[in-house]
């Protein structure tokens, strides 16, 4: 019964999102990587040593599993609870059997459907503009990373949205800037707790990129093999974040006092 209710939320939310503004966002996110890749290609078309597979891999990694996945899930997953609370529609969902749980899971799946479709389409469009003969290997690597990054970031932003429903977007931006962009680059134990660090490590391991002239310095910023260990950590990370969000939304009292005047 819970699965059926989750499916109902997924379809309802996916249909409800078919608004002009959401579709424009989807199109912008989808076209942005191709636009950047196209501009880089034009800018480098006349230089003597055009970028090889490694720079193009880095560009696609930065644009798709990082930018599109992160921005897409941020916009979709962060306001999941706050939008319902601000719209005062939360109470209608909360008084249904397992209501809060199925709403959160259904919205999580809707987030994945919208953002993954955008990220995969953007990867295909951008890859089509990469001037390399064998772009398939790069696309395969980036696709695997996208399939890991979207669920992880969606779970992360969903948790932040349930923890801080009143300032969810501000908190999510601050978290992203501080932890995912700054702390993830600190060569210490703390960076291993970020999604960014795991994705970066997997990118290096799966892309067979050279570690440069100083491998030890590079290994401070990326983890060590094996790759499967990082995949397991990332999947576990996703599950834990999702379960934490479900636990919070089930146990927390979202104030209803402002909903009535009595």
């Amino acid at each position: 019964m819970i699965a059926r209710s989750v499916g109902a939320v997924f379809w309802f939310e996916s249909r409800r999102a078919l608004t002009a503004s959401r579709i424009v966002w989807w199109v912008v996110l989808t076209l942005f990587p191709a636009l950047i890749v196209g501009m880089i290609r034009i800018a480098t078309s006349n230089i003597r040593n055009p970028p090889g597979p490694e720079p193009w891999s880095v560009f696609l990694f930065a644009l798709v599993p990082m930018l599109v996945s992160m921005l897409g899930t941020f916009l979709w997953a962060t306001p999941v609870v706050s939008a319902e609370l601000e719209g005062k529609s939360w109470v209608y969902l909360a008084v249904r059997p397992h209501g809060t749980t199925v709403v959160l899971l259904g919205k999580y799946l809707a987030t994945l459907a919208w953002v993954l479709s955008s990220a995969i389409a953007s990867l295909m469009l951008a890859a089509a503009l990469v001037p390399l003969d064998d772009v398939g290997h790069i696309v395969g690597t980036i696709l695997r990373l996208t399939l890991l990054s979207c669920p992880a970031y969606a779970a992360l932003y969903l948790l932040l949205g349930t923890l801080f429903p009143k300032r969810s977007m501000v908190v999510a931006v601050a978290y992203t800037l501080i932890f995912e962009l700054v702390v993830s680059m600190i060569p210490a134990l703390i960076n291993t707790f970020t999604v960014q660090f795991r994705l970066r490590t997997l990118f290096y391991l799966w892309s067979d990129l050279p570690l440069g002239s100083d491998p030890n310095a590079m290994l401070a910023f990326v983890g060590e093999p094996p790759a499967w260990e990082h995949v397991v950590v990332l999947v576990t990370f996703t599950m834990v974040l999702l379960l934490a969000a479900l636990g919070i939304v089930r146990e927390r009292e979202f104030s209803a006092s402002e909903e009535g005047n009595g």
Partner: protein, 309 residues
């Protein structure tokens, strides 16, 4: 149907519900209280959205917090609007029925039936954003009754309805009760509730001041002073007459009217026409300030504090 045992709800240092104990058997009840009296907090506790700081709550024999079994038997229409603007009424009510556990086709049928019950069939395919406030109120009621709950809890359901809509809503709720279903109806307007049910819970400041039928509540007020205003051109003769009959506790002349306070309003209402007739005094207007709900609560509050012996 509903049991509360010493229930208190605190928001930090602010008291939402204050040491409330009650045991309601199956039936229909009006929850009456002025704005800010704690009605919505009490309903939030009964629907499991809030957890009591102290005490125990049972609704249909079950704890309401995260209770899927209870939510299948409960219909709730909150006071706030909270409807999605860009979906139609049929989509929204069907969606909420699906969350009740119905499959898509059963949910569709239940939603259509509920919207027909509240008179929204003709407009149910239009986006909710195009509805009037009264129409949105009907849609809110439809989502609460669509899954045929045992207990219907409504928070200010008459808000935004025009006189015809209020009458139709009243008829609908009376039919609901006539079909043997349970109802708890919160309102700050006495006349709205008394057309539906004669059993009341009166709360103010988060406290339950009184409960029972209108007659039982009236019995509580029998010794409470009742303020009555009489307008006449012969103010001093009327004042003199009332003092002679020893019916008033206090009396004053103000704003071209005699304002009296009495513990025996029934006796006054019964005998006043005869006294006026005998004395040839014409009274052009008579009203009791204590007919307002706030005045009723003020009287109950005085009894609650022991100010009326």
């Amino acid at each position: 149907m509903i049991q509360l045992t010493s229930v208190t709800k605190l928001y930090g240092t602010v008291i939402g519900v204050n040491d409330m104990t009650l045991d309601l058997s199956a039936g229909a009840y009006g929850l009456l209280g002025p704005n800010g009296s704690g009605k919505t907090t009490l309903l939030s506790l009964l629907t499991g959205q809030l957890v009591p700081t102290i005490g125990r709550i049972r609704v249909l024999g079950e704890s309401p917090r995260n209770n899927a079994e209870l939510f299948r038997r409960l219909g709730y229409c909150p006071g706030s609007e909270g409807l999605y603007a860009n979906v139609s009424a049929i989509e929204w009510v069907q969606y909420l029925c699906q969350l009740q556990g119905l499959n898509s086709s059963d949910a569709r049928r239940a939603a259509e039936a509920a919207l027909a019950t509240v008179g929204m069939t003709a407009a149910m395919h239009r986006p909710i954003a195009t509805y009037s406030r009264g129409m949105r109120q009907r849609v809110k009621l439809a989502q609460a009754i669509a899954h045929d709950p045992e207990l219907l809890i409504l928070d200010e359901p008459f808000n935004g309805l025009d006189p015809i809509g209020r009458r139709e809503m009243g008829e609908l709720l009376k039919n609901w009760i006539a079909n043997g279903k349970n109802l708890l109806l919160a309102s700050h307007l006495l006349y709205e509730v008394e057309t539906i049910t004669d059993r009341f819970l009166l709360i103010n400041g988060g406290r339950l001041l009184a409960s029972g039928t209108a007659a039982e509540v009236q019995a509580l007020l029998v010794d409470a002073p009742n303020e009555i205003t009489l307008r006449t051109t012969e103010l001093h003769r009327l004042a003199s007459l009332l003092v002679e009959r020893e019916i008033t506790d206090s009396l004053r002349i103000a704003d071209h009217a005699v304002v009296l306070s009495t513990r025996h309003p029934g006796q006054l209402y019964e005998q006043l026409p005869q006294w006026l007739s005998e004395s040839q005094i014409a009274v052009t207007e008579m009203h009791s300030a204590d007919e307002s709900l706030q005045a009723l609560f003020n009287s109950l509050l005085k009894i609650h504090r022991g100010e009326v012996l």
